[in-house]
Symmetry: C2
Subunit: 347 residues, 2 copies
DNA sequence: ATGAAAGCGCTAACAT
DNA sequence: ATGTTAGCGCTTTCAT
């Protein structure tokens, strides 16, 4: 029997020690501070020295250690994006936009999943807080007072959520819901059912408030059901509740729920839109190829993610000039995408 | 004209200075090291002192600064997950699984988007390298030699990619492709077209190799087209190419491409599956409600993400015991989900 | 333009 | 069980 090789574990192969600023300085024959400047203060070093330092650094595979940079400067060049559920396709757009804006501002983006849970969300912020320059909280479920407490320690920008004193980027739900109701009214619907999402959802509340107001304007009757977890799996229960009322139109909290409803309606032999019209929110991946394709309110999610990161980057910059007035709320337009899931009310 | 208030910018409200270990130590009347131990070495401090320290820390809103922790210990308790495209729903499962496993191992997860670009991917690893304990690279597009170089400095675990000496978690494409071909053969198809994804895609290569081998076994003829970017937008071009050949069956690189193909076929009045059968890979969100619902090879993506993070966590632990032999490749089963997009070959 | 030196918040010997 | 001390890698005055 042979003695096992005392080599490193598989996959745990011997790793080269990471080059530090000191290594590079020694190799380049300069002081550590010069190497530092060559990287983070290019103006204040002779550009031939700088070129030399950079070449040596490249050769040694040196990359600045963010932890050490952060320690001294206090800035981490990292921002965190927190979403309620990363598997919800709605957030893909936000993530993409945030990623692009972060790259442009030379920031590293960290993504956290709050798991639809305010407690988890707060823990996440607390945990990540010291490691990042700020947070973009998407559809935050934390109550206003918690947000306020949290914002004492952290820079915060909200997406699809507003809270006193905090910068936010929100979709224009007032206009959006008016578009939805006008669309239904023009097709002769006299009433509709709203399938509500989570009770703590700020945008859910805005959606319902907008729908109610618009319904009143158009003389429609609006009823709210729910709350439901906005997943496809909630579709059957929601759809069945609607069918029991004989409603001619349904507006769902979001597309995922709406798609679940469509599936259930098909299962029960209810024709859409002949018997029931269905409208969603978000225009997620899949809304255009589900059956029938879904009429939905499109938001500029990519832009929202990008704007939020830009706003955060602005807050991070040393000068963050007082512009006076309240914390800015940026409202992004929404647009109703009419597809085959909605049509004339049955006679 | 009144002079503008010199107050802080909106949203940039005065922020409390973060409590440090020294602040807490002073307030609790102990040494900084005791505070440190109270948090990260509970066993070695009197539990009443510990309780007191923790209470004071809580009151001051103290949270350990990860940057400082990382600096001394070298470990960051953070792992990075890199995906080619965060908006691709395929990766949602991987992300979710990775997130769960990271939480269980008390690791913070950072998500990076390689933007389908090997160069960007390498830059990302370089940039994030010093800030994390290791990487899970999903469907990495980096060539083997680059991976080897990169792994000298970083702990790496691969998902749906294998490379000499590296730990990886892959789907069982050999079995999966056999299932697909057997399904088509049993429906009387004599040949099929494979719509290839990106040329650098390792799993794409595995898929094609598996399909070819299985086709040979079953006496089917297999042709490869492409490469195509695996997006819905590539669907029309891919579908048109297929139609020109008169093929009776199409296997697409992944579901997103397959859905694009389905849309185009519908547009051109080609009936699925009566005239053409369509099969995808991945079973992503949407595969069950597109029209017609897509036959596809399901992978255990959530499990893959979780296993990869667990493997990485194991590599990170001090002991990382040599188990001998090659770096482990973990193969996860795949399963063909038969839906309405595939059926008997036309006569 | 560059170097020397102090210190960011924390951990890890080493003392007590 | 707790305190003291010396850095981790980097940035930042302050000299030169």
């Amino acid at each position: 029997m042979s003695v096992p090789e005392p080599g490193p574990a598989p996959g745990a192969r011997r790793r080269r020690r990471r080059a530090t600023i000191t290594t590079v300085a020694a190799a380049a024959g300069v002081a550590p501070s010069t190497v530092s400047r060559a990287f983070s203060n290019p103006g204040r070093v002779n550009h031939v020295t700088r070129a030399h330092v950079l070449a040596v650094a490249e050769e040694l595979g040196y990359a600045p250690n963010p932890a050490a940079q952060a320690l001294e400067s206090g800035r981490t060049s990292t921002v965190a994006l927190v979403v309620p559920d990363i598997t919800n396709p709605y957030f893909s757009g936000v993530v993409k936009g945030a990623e692009r804006a972060a790259a442009e501002a030379r920031l590293t983006l960290v993504i956290g999943d709050a798991q639809e849970n305010p407690v988890h969300e707060e823990r996440l912020v607390r945990r990540l807080g010291p490691a990042v320059d700020g947070f973009v909280l998407t559809a935050s479920r934390m109550p206003d007072d918690v947000l306020e407490r949290v914002s004492e320690l952290n820079r915060i920008v909200l997406v699809n959520r507003a809270s006193p004193g905090l910068t936010s980027v929100v979709a224009d739900f007032a206009s959006g819901t008016r578009q939805i109701v006008a669309h239904l009214a023009s097709h002769g619907h006299r009433s509709f059912v709203f399938l509500g999402g989570p009770a703590e959802s700020w945008s859910g509340a805005r959606r319902w408030a907008g729908l109610r107001a618009a319904a009143e304007e158009h003389g429609l009757e609006a009823t709210r059901f729910g709350p439901w977890t906005p997943t496809i799996a909630s579709g059957p229960a929601a759809a069945d509740a609607v069918l029991a009322t004989g409603a001619t139109a349904v507006v769902a909290h979001n597309d995922v729920l709406a798609i679940g409803v469509l599936q259930r309606l098909a299962e029960r032999g209810v024709r859409v839109p002949q018997e029931v019209s269905v409208v969603g929110f978000d225009d997620v991946f899949g809304a255009d190829f589900c059956h029938p394709p879904l009429t939905t309110l499109a938001e500029r999610t990519t832009e929202a993610g990008a704007r939020a990161v830009e706003a955060l980057a602005a807050l991070t910059r040393p000068g963050a000039l007082p512009t006076g007035g309240d914390a800015p709320v940026r409202v992004l337009p929404t647009q109703l995408v009419v597809r085959a899931s909605s049509g004339p009310a049955p006679r």
